[in-house]
Symmetry: C2
Subunit: 124 residues, 2 copies
DNA sequence: ACCTATTTGTCCGTATGTATG
DNA sequence: CCATACATACGGACAAATAGG
């Protein structure tokens, strides 16, 4: 897949890279299981450092969109569309209930992370 | 507050630092609104670089445990207990519904993040 | 079993930018 | 205007896991 940046002053490079990959996943041009270019290679093709690409990749990993393994590379994780829609409906419902509590999005995510980690500690 | 590392080969420095702060928040020695030491200062006192401390701080921010502001520093965020319990009940309910879908915790969190970002773009 | 290349992971140093006070 | 402190980005170095010869 070809990853190109839309130059956007105001958002950092690592975020632009992450956004480009995220867009590719959402529009289907990056399919589940597909391997992203190596950080070094993508960095060279974009004119940014290896570190900046790795930063973007690690953000995407933290968001559950890709999997990273040393020596292997970055692989896209995309849930099946039907399942995703079910999940979205459930999450949307929870979000609307949580909205009135006045907690920040980050706080909610932190709490949710704890609940999810409790039931499934690791994927490795 | 005094932050000390428990040397643990096998887990990276930035994680050890984040864990130390997290422990302080959970056991109450770091109260809501309290300011963490500046990354540079803490780095020097721990014998690690500013970057490593910032990495830890940014992880904690992503987990919703602290707030970071340029020029200001890092401030602990701890939700009120009552509100937290309400949120936990809602999240627990959502988690149990999501469990049967077979999605990974990271995937669920990624989807939820998107939903929350949609309803409340920024806290600034 | 060994060695090599690849690729991510961590850590450091340095420089510059930007928001806060 | 100035000092503080986080934010981003680059570069280099080494470690660790993986894959292939």
């Amino acid at each position: 897949m070809l990853i190109r940046l839309i130059p956007d002053p105001g958002s950092p490079l690592h975020e632009q890279i992450a956004a480009a990959v995220r867009a590719g996943i959402l529009d289907g041009s990056l399919a589940d299981g597909e391997r992203l270019p190596a950080a070094k290679a993508l960095g060279e093709s974009l004119g940014v450092s290896l570190h900046t690409v790795l930063h973007a990749y690690q953000d995407l990993r933290d968001q559950g969109l890709i999997e990273l393994r040393r020596g292997r590379g970055a692989v896209v994780i995309a849930p099946a569309p039907a399942t995703r829609e079910n999940a979205l409906r459930i999450l949307d419902d929870a979000a609307s209930q949580l909205a009135v509590l006045g907690l920040s999005a980050e706080t909610i995510l932190a709490l949710f992370r704890q609940r999810l980690d409790r039931s499934s500690p690791h994927d490795d």
